[in-house]
Symmetry: C2
Subunit: 183 residues, 2 copies
């Protein structure tokens, strides 16, 4: 990819991110992104169709990174935990979210949260699919999966809203208790 394109893309992402930390998605204007990123109007529109598309691309970037690491840790043998179960997976995921907290916080705060969540849940659903043992059989599968994905999303939102004060291990532990996966 052309270096010029990379540069503008990065500048726009960075600017958008900074603005997301200050104000909610809907109140951010393209003009503000342009000013912050120091990019021409026509340049922006040659890269992104709309503001929504920009958010989507940014989410995809972040989640691809976070979840690809998850998959990697599954096949590699470089972490100390005794098994590769759901608890470890969730803990790892939370650590990654914490590493990306500036991004995640920015995106989650305000209106953009809804769109963010939609994309996030898509990734989550594929994760839970790898752990059929946590899906209860006495409830319709759709309903159960929706519960797992949805309540985990809620837990993450709560965790971020409370400034990620609770350690990832505890979040994972408490969550697994509440979904009846543990104890």
């Amino acid at each position: 990819m052309d270096r010029r394109q990379q540069k503008t893309r990065q500048a726009v992402f960075q600017a958008f991110n900074k603005l997301l930390e200050e104000k909610r998605f809907n109140s951010i204007t393209v003009q503000e992104i342009l000013d912050e990123a120091n990019v021409g109007r026509s340049t922006f529109y040659s890269h992104f169709e709309t503001k929504d598309a920009l958010l989507k691309e940014m989410c995809t970037d972040i989640f691809d990174h976070i979840f690809s690491y998850e998959l990697h840790s599954e096949t590699s043998h470089d972490f100390s935990s005794s098994d590769h179960g759901l608890q470890e997976k969730i803990t790892h995921l939370l650590y990654h979210l914490k590493d990306n907290r500036r991004n995640v916080l920015g995106i989650l705060s305000g209106e953009s949260g809804g769109l963010f969540m939609r994309y996030f849940k898509e990734y989550l659903a594929t994760m839970f699919d790898q752990y059929p043992e946590c899906i209860r059989k006495d409830v319709p599968k759709e309903f159960a999966v929706n519960h797992l994905v949805g309540s985990f999303g809620e837990a993450v939102t709560w965790w971020i809203d409370t400034k990620m004060k609770m350690p990832p291990e505890d979040v994972a532990d408490n969550y697994l208790k509440l979904i009846g996966y543990k104890e």
Copy 2:
């Protein structure tokens, strides 16, 4: 209240509702509401500060109605169920949502869902507060309450998205199983 005010208020609510069924909240313009409701621009702004305020008032109207009925059924003795437990409460709530399905569907579809949910959860939290036995003690209370409220919100969203095909009794039953309140 002046009959004229009632009339415009109702017309705006109705118009807004119709539009919410067709398109997402953010893409609805004040102008469209004006045209649909056949109300003057200045009249609208003398009633509602912003579009967000309009949504908020509408949510409050709906939830006040739904949850006040819930509270009423708690004190009255006119329903057949054997106890006044959480399961009955939830089932009743779902029936009420179904009665208001045109409203709820309209509000939940699209972007407005986020705001709707925020208000909805406030009401839910007070409901769960009446049932301390469903809050697990081996997990921080905040976390547990967030889980109950959040996952119920998710269940309702799923239920509405799937056209409310599952009977309210089953939704309540499945939900209570998943939060470990039952069996």
